[in-house]
C-alpha cells in the first residue's frame, strides 16, 4: 500500500482546482477518491506522478470540470431538460413568427401584428430569459453571469422596443434609450474588457463587439434616415407638381388662343379669375417661405429649400400655421381669400359654363360647418412647410384643371346645342 505525503495531497488538490473544479465539496470528494485509488493500487515504490495522471484522466471524457458541470445541472436543474426543450421550442416559434410577421407586414396582409407580437413576445419574454438562466449557470464567475444577464436584458428590451414601435404602443422612446444606454455604457465595455483580458477569448470579444456596434449602428442609421428620405422625397414631389401646374397653365393658354377667347366675356373672366387666384397662391407660398425662415425671396426656389434643409424639416410647422390660422383656429384673411376666390370661380363655372361640380376639384363642397375638419384644416393646419407648399401647388393645379373643364365645356357648347 502506497503512503501519500502531505505534499502529494496538496499537489493533487491544487491540480483538481487547476482543472476547473470550483465546488469545495466536490474537490474534497475527488481528492479522497483519487487518494484511495492511489493508496490501494500504487506499489510502494511506484511512480506517483505518472499513476496520478493516468488515474485522474480516467475520471472524465474531456475535462475534469465536466463532473462539476453535471453536478450543477443535477443540483439546480431538476427541470433542466424541460427548460431546454421549451427554450428551443419558443426560439423556433419566435424566429418563425417574427419572419412571417415581417413578410406579412411587407405584403400588407392581415395578421401581421399578431404574428409579430407572438414572435417578439415569445422571443423576449420566454426564449431570452430561459437562455439566460441556462447560460448563466455555465458561466464561471460573477462577472460573466452579470454579463449574460445584462446582455439578455438588452436583447429583450431592444426586441420589445421594436415591437412597441411597430405597434405604436407608448413607451418606445424610454425603452430604446434605456436599452441603448445599458448596452453602450455597461454591457459592451464590460464584455470587451473581460473578453480581451483572456487570450482565449480576445479575438472573439473584439469581433463580437465590432459586430454588435456595426449591427446596432446600422439599425439606428435606418431609423434616422427615414425623416431625411421623407423630407427629400417631399422636395421632389413639390418640384414635380410645380412642373405639372406650369404645363397645365401653358396648355390652357393655348386653348384660349384656339377659341379666340378675346371676344368672349365669360372666357376672359374665367382666365382673369384663374390667373389671379393662381398668382395669389404663388404670393402666399413666397410669403410663407420668407416669414418662416426670415428671408426675402422673390419667388419659390426649391433649390434654396434644398440647401437650407432646416426649412423643409417635418417639424417645421409652427410658424406656417400661425401665419394661416388664429389661436382659436379660425382662418386668417389669406386663406379666407382663397376660399372666396374659389367660391366665386364656382359661381362663374355654374352660370356661364354649366359646370355644377366645380368644387369637387377642391373638396370644399364637402365641408360641413358642424364638422371639426374643414378644407383649410385638412390641408394647411399644423402642416410642415414642405407639405404646405405642395398642397398650395396642388390647389393651383386644381384651379387649372377646373379651368380646363370650363374651357372644354365652352368649346363643346355649340356642338351640344346643334345636337339638341
Amino acid at each position: 500500500m502506497y503512503c501519500l505525503s502531505d505534499k502529494q495531497i496538496d499537489y493533487i488538490l491544487n491540480d483538481i482546482r487547476a482543472r476547473g473544479v470550483e465546488m469545495e465539496d466536490l474537490q474534497l470528494n475527488l481528492l479522497d477518491h483519487v487518494c484511495c485509488i492511489i493508496e490501494q493500487k500504487l506499489e510502494v515504490n511506484g511512480d506517483f506522478e505518472r499513476f496520478y495522471q493516468t488515474t485522474i484522466a480516467s475520471f472524465y471524457k474531456q475535462e475534469l470540470w465536466e463532473i462539476e458541470e453535471e453536478t450543477l445541472i443535477l443540483l439546480t436543474f431538476k427541470n433542466y431538460y424541460t427548460m431546454k426543450k421549451i427554450m428551443i421550442m419558443t426560439g423556433g416559434v419566435s424566429a418563425f413568427a417574427t419572419i412571417m410577421g415581417v413578410w406579412f407586414k411587407y405584403m400588407h396582409w392581415p395578421g401581421a401584428s399578431a404574428l409579430l407580437s407572438l414572435g417578439i413576445l415569445s422571443g423576449c419574454l420566454v426564449f431570452l430569459p430561459l437562455m439566460f438562466i441556462l447560460k448563466a449557470r455555465e458561466q464561471p464567475g460573477k462577472i460573466n453571469k452579470f454579463l449574460t444577464a445584462t446582455g439578455a436584458l438588452c436583447a429583450m428590451m431592444i426586441g420589445l422596443s421594436f415591437l412597441f414601435k411597430v405597434m405604436h404602443w407608448p413607451g418606445v422612446i424610454g425603452l430604446i434609450y434605456f436599452s441603448t444606454l445599458l448596452m453602450a455604457l455597461v454591457f459592451l465595455p464590460l464584455y470587451f474588457y473581460t473578453g480581451i483580458r483572456n487570450p482565449a477569448t480576445r479575438v472573439n470579444a473584439i469581433s463580437s463587439s465590432v459586430l454588435i456596434i456595426l449591427g446596432y449602428g446600422l439599425i439606428l442609421l435606418l431609423v434616422n434616415t427615414r425623416p431625411y428620405i421623407q423630407e427629400h422625397a417631399g422636395r421632389h414631389a413639390n418640384q414635380f407638381l410645380q412642373q405639372s401646374y406650369e404645363v397645365m397653365s401653358w396648355q390652357n393658354n393655348a386653348m384660349y388662343k384656339d377659341l379666340s377667347a378675346k371676344n368672349n366675356e365669360p372666357l376672359l373672366m374665367l382666365n382673369r379669375q384663374c390667373n389671379n387666384l393662381c398668382s395669389d397662391i404663388e404670393k402666399l407660398k413666397v410669403e410663407l417661405i420668407n416669414k418662416t425662415n426670415d428671408v426675402a425671396l422673390n419667388k419659390v426656389d426649391y433649390n434654396y429649400l434644398e440647401i437650407h434643409s432646416s426649412t423643409i424639416r417635418l417639424d417645421n410647422f409652427d410658424i406656417p400655421t400661425s401665419l394661416l390660422f388664429d389661436a382659436d383656429l379660425s382662418v386668417k384673411p389669406a386663406l379666407l381669400d382663397l376660399r372666396q376666390q374659389i367660391n366665386s370661380l364656382d359661381e362663374l363655372a355654374r352660370t356661364s359654363f354649366k359646370i355644377d361640380d366645380f368644387n369637387h376639384f377642391f373638396e370644399i363642397s364637402k365641408d360641413d360647418p358642424a364638422q371639426a375638419t374643414t378644407w383649410e384644416k385638412e390641408n394647411f393646419y399644423r402642416t410642415p412647410l414642405s407639405y404646405l407648399l405642395r398642397n398650395l401647388t396642388q390647389v393651383q393645379l386644381n384651379v387649372r384643371y377646373a379651368e380646363l373643364s370650363c374651357i372644354a365645356s365652352y368649346r363643346d357648347m355649340p356642338l351640344q346645342a346643334s345636337l339638341n
Partner: protein
C-alpha cells in the same frame, strides 16, 4: 461484460440509495468498490456519474453527510435520511417492477421473433 453507461444512468440513484440502506454510511470510493465487488465487475460506477448523483441526493435531502479528517484530507460519509429511507423503498420497488415489465416485454418480443 460491462453494462453501458446509458443503462446505469437511470438506475444509479436507486443503486446508491440501496447500498446506503444496507451499509449505514459509506464514502464515494467505497461505493464504487462495493458495486464492483457485488456485481463482479459487471457494473463499474464512474466518478463522473457518482459524485453528481451524491450531490443531487444530498440536495434533495435524501442523504445526510458527515466529514472526517483522514490525515490531511477530508472524507465525506453519506448515510440515508428518514426521507431517504422511504424513498429507497419506493425506488427499489419501482425498479423491480420496471425490470419485470422489461423482462415481460423482451420475452414477448423474443417469442414473436
Amino acid at each position: 461484460m460491462i453494462y453501458s453507461s446509458e443503462l446505469i444512468k437511470g438506475t444509479l440513484k436507486t443503486i446508491v440509495l440501496k447500498l446506503l440502506a444496507d451499509n449505514k454510511r459509506m464514502y464515494g470510493y467505497e461505493i464504487t468498490q462495493k458495486v464492483k465487488e457485488v456485481t463482479k465487475d459487471k457494473i463499474q460506477i464512474t466518478e463522473g456519474a457518482l459524485y453528481p448523483t451524491l450531490h443531487a441526493l444530498e440536495d434533495e435531502g435524501l442523504v445526510t453527510t458527515e466529514s472526517e479528517f483522514i490525515g490531511k484530507r477530508v472524507r465525506k460519509y453519506y448515510s440515508l435520511s428518514a426521507a431517504g429511507k422511504t424513498r429507497t423503498k419506493e425506488k427499489v420497488s419501482e425498479l423491480a417492477d420496471f425490470m419485470s415489465t422489461m423482462k415481460f416485454l423482451l420475452d414477448i418480443k423474443t417469442k414473436n421473433a
